[in-house]
Point group: C2
Chain length 268, copies 2
């Protein structure tokens, strides 16, 4: 089994790569701290779960971890983006019988910490529903792009996206957690959305701390009664939503508590 490694920004990609032609691949965007990838096990587990669903060959974890480690050498604080595509193929949706996946690594540095609070606005742009794609961080992200284009005409930091059937899924690039009365809830992602690594870390932390947590359908109307909402992703960590649409959130307590519990290296 062969793999073709491309190191950005100098490496280049074949125009017949199936990642470009059809979105036939996966990606991970990882926080880098002191030249190491944060939560690398969760990232590799999600990548491998997606690759299995797409029947996309991957190098073993040790090889991938070594490549990631080499790519973020010397970066004190930053991000590492990994793209894995099914590689070059002839025209047509059918994958080649013996694909040689393309593995792209792009590291970047960052100096300013991410803010602890953001504002959000509900977008018109919807997310389509398909169990065969839901949860994966695949390359087909045009709905999120259209969401960001819509968001640009507001003054909010993030857009809240609903599925086509009207369920709350999350932000354009963040998962969502809400305190609804006595319940701590995050949207069910079996039909739409991405299973974020930071979302998983929060779920794991709640389980370890004995905090009850539900994954269930969330309606927009549910959020109008929320006492607290926060959003997560691997780069920004946990961010409190200070305002959703016209409503200011009364609390940020759980987010502050979880940030402390997770010893969030993102902003230290």
């Amino acid at each position: 089994m062969g793999f073709r490694y491309v190191l950005a920004p100098d490496g280049r990609v074949d125009p017949a790569d199936r990642g470009l032609a059809y979105g036939d691949g996966l990606f991970e965007t990882m926080a880098v701290h002191n030249a190491a990838v944060l939560r690398i096990d969760l990232h590799l587990a999600r990548l491998r779960a997606g690759a299995k669903r797409l029947t996309l060959p991957l190098p073993d974890d040790a090889t991938l971890a070594a490549k990631l480690g080499a790519a973020c050498a010397g970066i004190r604080r930053g991000a590492l983006k990994l793209i894995v595509t099914r590689g070059i193929g002839p025209r047509g949706y059918a994958p080649p019988q013996q694909p040689e996946p393309t593995i792209i690594l792009a590291a970047s540095t960052r100096t300013a910490p991410y803010p602890a609070t953001i504002t959000a606005v509900t977008l018109q742009q919807r997310l389509s529903e398909n169990e065969s794609l839901a949860g994966m961080k695949h390359l087909c992200r045009l709905e999120q792009v259209l969401g960001q284009i819509e968001l640009a005409s507001s003054d909010a930091d993030e857009g809240l996206m609903l599925s086509t059937s009207g369920n709350v899924i999350g932000g354009t690039s963040r998962n969502l957690v809400a305190v609804l009365g006595p319940r701590l809830v995050t949207p069910d992602l079996r039909r739409a959305g991405i299973r974020g690594v930071m979302r998983q870390a929060v779920l794991d932390q709640c389980r370890a701390s004995g905090i009850a947590f539900e994954e269930s359908n969330v309606q927009p109307a549910d959020l109008t009664g929320a006492s607290e909402i926060f959003m997560t992703n691997a780069l920004v960590g946990i961010q409190s939503v200070a305002r959703l649409d016209q409503r200011s959130m009364p609390s940020q307590d759980l987010a502050i508590r979880l940030r402390a519990a997770l010893a969030q290296d993102h902003d230290d």
Copy 2:
């Protein structure tokens, strides 16, 4: 407004291209006959309609037509694939304020004509529904890729794909037309599917010939009573479906008549 042209197979693409990163772009696959693109006006009209919906800048039609013409010079019979992406961008779904789109051209020759009849099988893989993406030939095609992976384990030539709500949409890379009793019907594509150029040519031909034609919801059960089914795309033209699942189709008459009426240059 700048554009970056990439001629395949020698040209290369930046790994930060948004077509690769997010499927943020469109494509056209066009039949080439005697060094000219067949139905170039329909292809450019569809491309421009998609670009408008994605707020993706395009060169004017004359410039594009000249580039396409140059790319298929010397090709007696073949295909020309055009990809337009939003170009290189920083990490994140938000497009750059001043995008410089990437325009990729890949020409190929072909010697064997496409068969006039194919067999088809109904796939389990579904197509998601979203009005904001439906109809466009955008780069997010993982559902079709998964459909082709499923199809590979059958002996059929094409897979019939339904939407997540159970409506017939078409093949993995073809539109569908069915004769249902006295009605000539093609699936409504307002929530899923691609508005094919050959489908449009067939609709136009029917209109010119006074043949009544409906775009409406088609259920799988409707097709079990079809007297004729054919599929279309810009490369293969019109192909009769000789068998769908276990059922042989009684007629191919309309497909034969339309092929003649359209003076199908594809197989002459």
